[in-house]
Symmetry: C3
Subunit: 153 residues, 3 copies
């Protein structure tokens, strides 16, 4: 089944892909590997939410913005490849969660992104994952995602 | 010489591999590259130690749990490949150390894992390494390891 | 045009490559991918500046040391490959910025490294980038860079 159809069937519309504002690019492909730049939960250049999870930002809000950040990543993948249907496998996601002191449920937050990956790509969406809690993220984003995918070359 | 024999000769028995509790998998292979999920110093789902290095957790304890986390990684590699003997090379390890304010000896902590990699794999265990100090890790783990290996395809 | 000539034309002389002081190596190659160890803004084993950006270290200083760290990375690439002219593409840079509480301009800091990559490698220097703010870096470095390059095999 087409991943594009799957996404549409979930009622999800991808946002316009975020555009880098400095000397880097959204994605670089080497052979079958597609390396994405870090994605934030932004829309049209503005963050949907700022702050740290565990202080002002709840786990549920963190999950929601992780999902929002992932939609940006998917938009970047589509812009790069022409279609999500050129994805072979989601390889790896490193998820950085801006964490208040003592907050250690980063994995739960990232499930907001992981669950959507599996909803769209099925078994091929199941990825290796690294969950990290960090002090500060760009523009006070609560979550940043770093993804590697295997794609048709 | 067989890496499995080398490991046995060191008197090391691998634990059961940790099992992901969400929509991700322990490892994803693309060609010769094997990407692992982040590993914590856990056994049977429970952390062996919690806290931050430099505050409650000593450098020596940090090294010990880095070694424990690495054993989980090796268990995941064996589960994925059938045998450690299918490893060609340890490519890269990013080591995240939960660090108390002012603690900056992350490299020393990670030597607990790096030294074991070289003890088992010899020259092929010598990897590119990135040492990072972070605010919080999942479930208050003191150390998390993120590994990439080259394996027989 | 030769990247080595481009570098020389910029008036840049690379420092001696930093040497790992533990059981890891500066770089590991797998096929066309070259994975580097984390680089700090050091010269001859000593950091050029310590501290956190946003508290004692300014954004401008952060940019300058990001550039200094990148020169170490280029020195490692040249030592590994014999010449920068064997680089095909800069694939990805994860930049860790030791950040004072509330500091969230990590991307600006990393431009010090990204801009130099593009000055040397042109379009092939434009990389996927991930900017992260962290609590502590080895030896109180303000910046650490983690690079992946595509190189001639």
């Amino acid at each position: 089944m087409s991943y594009e159809h799957k996404l549409a069937g979930l009622g999800v519309t991808l946002p316009p892909p975020p555009t880098p504002v400095a000397n880097y690019v959204p994605a670089v492909r080497v052979g079958e590997l597609l390396f994405l730049s870090g994605v934030l939960p932004s829309r049209n250049g503005r963050l949907l939410l700022t702050g740290k999870v565990g202080d002002g930002v709840s786990v549920e809000q963190g999950q929601e913005v992780a999902r929002m950040a992932l939609l940006n990543a998917l938009a970047m993948v589509r812009a790069e490849l022409g279609s999500l249907d050129r994805v072979i496998r989601v390889v790896k996601m490193v998820g950085y969660v801006a964490s208040a002191p003592g907050f250690c449920d980063q994995p739960q937050v990232l499930n907001g992104a992981s669950d959507l990956l599996v909803a769209v790509f099925g078994e091929e969406g199941r990825h290796a994952r690294v969950a990290v809690g960090v002090a500060e993220l760009p523009r006070q984003a609560p979550v940043e995602l770093d993804l590697i995918l295997q794609v048709k070359s």
